[in-house]
Amino acid sequence: MIGIIRYGAGNIFSLTAALDRLGIKYGMVHSEADFEQFDRYIIPGVGHAGAAMNKLQQSGMVDKIKAIQKPTLGICVGMQLLTAHSEEGDANMLNLFPIKTKRFTDSSEYKVPHTGWNQVYSEKENPLFKNIPIGSHFYFVHSYFIEFNPAYTLASTNYSLKFSASIWRDNFFGVQFHPEKSGKFGETLLTNFSNL
């Protein structure tokens, strides 16, 4: 069963609705004591990365999250929390991935926020994108991106530059897009995560 880590950043209605539609069981993690009862975790998050990191610190769950050995998926800002640093609020993050979250440079050609459906390319063999064709579209809405890094980038997307649409290190996964809003391929990804 998935434990959704609740630290006060963003709503999770759409995520739980998607899990309900897929018949994937989940519960809530509000404190360190709640971790044990789950076999995998999702770290959600929308809004300001620096503010989200502050809330996560106030929740008292940082040390526990950094020590997780079970499959863990960060979504959107929840993925950015896993990086070393974000330019949004010039904030230090969890540093589970020694790479950075940066802001897109906006222009009339490459507008920011990067909003809409863009193509995602798996960079390596992996179980998260099983049964999802390379180049499938997922729904993005974000102004900050995680830099591309061959060691950690699981899947990439191009938007003025090549960035990490997904990252992977050991048991930690992250996706910048919103699988809960990304049609059937998003649902496939959530199902894949639940079966890891």
């Binding site: 709503n11 759409s14 926020p113 459906w117 938007y159 809003k181 049609g183």
Partner: protein, 254 residues
């Protein structure tokens, strides 16, 4: 190899039912919003917009119920607009599962609302909807479904909205809306070239070629329409096929 252009059906909702008027009057009932939304999602719509035109004290409650019902069943993003006047309205809708909120008259009356919403929820949550109409050779912002002219020139207002923290602009040409004569490509291009946030074109869609034109001529990020979709005059799979034939980037469904 790039960001797909979005096709967005717009559902006007009153008291929980979908309506669409020709030039915003003569409302006709076009069905259950959740069922329509589900159908559009299955047909390949990329996003949905709900505009709530309910004008009762129960409004926020009915909007929250609608948003929850949609979020439970639909796996694509959606925006809700209509009667959002303060942070608490937006907060309730966000928590009910809305991806974005759209503000129109409230932002014109109180531009600082854009700043407040962007600060509270992030720019990606804030769509500023602008209804524009030509008056004496100028594009002027109108309120109340295009009935009330303001003092604001549309182009200037859009730049101000972007500056204040709008994450997207939904621009409706009231001169074109309901005419089915095509989008206002010239003005849309002018706006689209000037801003660095996504622009959704609205008003005037009547045939498939109108969508090809608005993407080719104005290069907007998305195109929105209501009645041509609601009454089956344009089917989204057919529309997407023609866009693809014209080398316009669209979302792969399989």
């Amino acid at each position: 190899m790039s960001l797909a252009k979005r096709i967005i059906p717009c559902l006007d909702v009153k008291d929980g039912r979908t309506v669409k008027g020709v030039n915003f009057v003569d409302l006709r009932d076009a069905g259950d919003p959740v069922e329509l939304a589900w159908n559009y999602s299955n047909q390949g719509a990329d996003e949905l917009v709900f505009l709530d035109i309910t004008a009762t004290h129960e409004r926020r409650k009915t909007m929250v119920e609608l948003v929850k019902a949609v979020a439970r069943q639909i796996n694509i993003p959606f925006t809700i607009g209509g009667g959002i006047n303060e942070i608490a309205d937006a907060d309730a809708l966000l928590n009910a599962g809305a991806d974005k909120i759209s503000i129109n008259s409230a932002a014109v009356r109180n531009p600082a609302l854009i700043d407040e919403l962007a600060k509270a929820f992030g720019v990606q949550f804030v769509v500023v909807a602008v209804d524009t109409r030509h008056v004496d050779g100028k594009n002027i912002v109108h309120l109340n479904g295009g009935r009330i002219p303001t003092e604001k020139e549309t182009f200037d207002w859009i730049l101000e909205a972007e500056d204040r923290g709008a994450g997207e602009i939904l621009l409706t040409s009231m001169d074109h809306d309901g005419t089915k004569g095509g989008f206002d490509n010239q003005f849309l291009k002018q706006v689209n070239d000037a801003v660095h946030i996504p622009v959704i074109a609205s008003g005037g869609a009547g045939k498939v070629q109108d969508f090809v034109d608005v993407f080719e001529k104005a290069n907007v990020d998305a195109a929105l329409a209501a009645s041509v979709f609601h009454y089956g005059e344009i089917l989204i799979p057919d529309l997407k096929e023609v866009l693809k034939q014209n080398h316009i980037e669209i979302r792969n469904l399989s």
